[in-house]
Chain length 165, copies 2
């Protein structure tokens, strides 16, 4: 089997922008609150829930993975965005792909900085939650509601994801 | 000045229930996803946004406090719930009060376990964000929208909050 290989690189704002939002502090807060003791960075994610769904907070507890990571499956959520907020300071692996006629096309992999979240926009192809070490606990803000909100794509040939050296 | 003193105790589900939700894993997940590698604990917070507001994700970066903590101010948000999700594994201090004719009444203080979030229900009196050590970085899911969504109450006499021994 001649697997394709891609390299995971540090999360890059420009490269990630077409796929979602990076939930991180910015050079300047939008507001200082609580008697000067708290900086607010306001409304950092494009939450987008269709067909009667609404935002909810869930927890995902995922098994840690390691490099090289074998990507067999990608998924997308046609009815809503999905944000992942790490409840720890460990980096995690973020995999996204352009859509190519209803299948994942060109695929990219990123490693997040500590204490940074991401929000996949609605209907963006992405890998499943892949922490790189324990604990694999994340708060997830995604669509609560009925309807078919999961589309999966299994690769005929897996993609090997290696760490940038 | 004869300040009142209360003791912060470990976060207690029964005692906290009238004020909000504890965002923590449960004995059993609601669903196992991602080929058995991820547990989903579904829809753990009562998100409640009125008067045209909607859910958003912001970041709060707050200064760490220490015991004894002098509580001078409480606040409430009449138009929406507010969830705090620690982007780290450090406990934080949670202060809530019953309403007593438009002012904070009986006040309680709790210390969260690591990697546990909380969601204050709409219009519940609570203290400002009080991490107990750095980093003080939290994702906040609260109401994005116009209108007057902040009511503050300054105590004539501060409340001293001590740690349980």
């Amino acid at each position: 089997m001649s697997a394709r290989t891609i390299t995971a690189r540090p999360l890059d704002a420009t490269a990630f922008a077409p796929f979602g939002d990076i939930i991180d502090i910015r050079p300047q807060p939008d507001k200082i609150i609580n008697q000067g003791k708290c900086a607010r960075y306001h409304d950092l994610a494009g939450l987008d829930f269709t067909k009667g769904g609404k935002a909810g907070i869930s927890l995902f507890d995922a098994e840690a993975r390691s490099f090289p990571y074998r990507l067999e499956l990608m998924e997308r959520h046609p009815l809503g965005s999905q944000a992942f907020l790490p409840l720890h300071e460990q980096p995690f692996l973020v995999i996204v792909a352009e859509d190519n006629n209803g299948k994942p096309g060109q695929t990219q992999a990123f490693i997040t900085p500590p204490s940074v979240g991401i929000n996949y926009h609605r209907n963006i192809w992405h890998g499943v939650l892949t922490p790189l070490s324990a604990p694999g606990l994340f708060a997830v803000v995604d669509r609560i509601g009925g309807g078919k909100n999961l589309e999966e794509f299994w690769f005929e040939e897996e993609i090997i994801i290696e760490k940038d050296r």
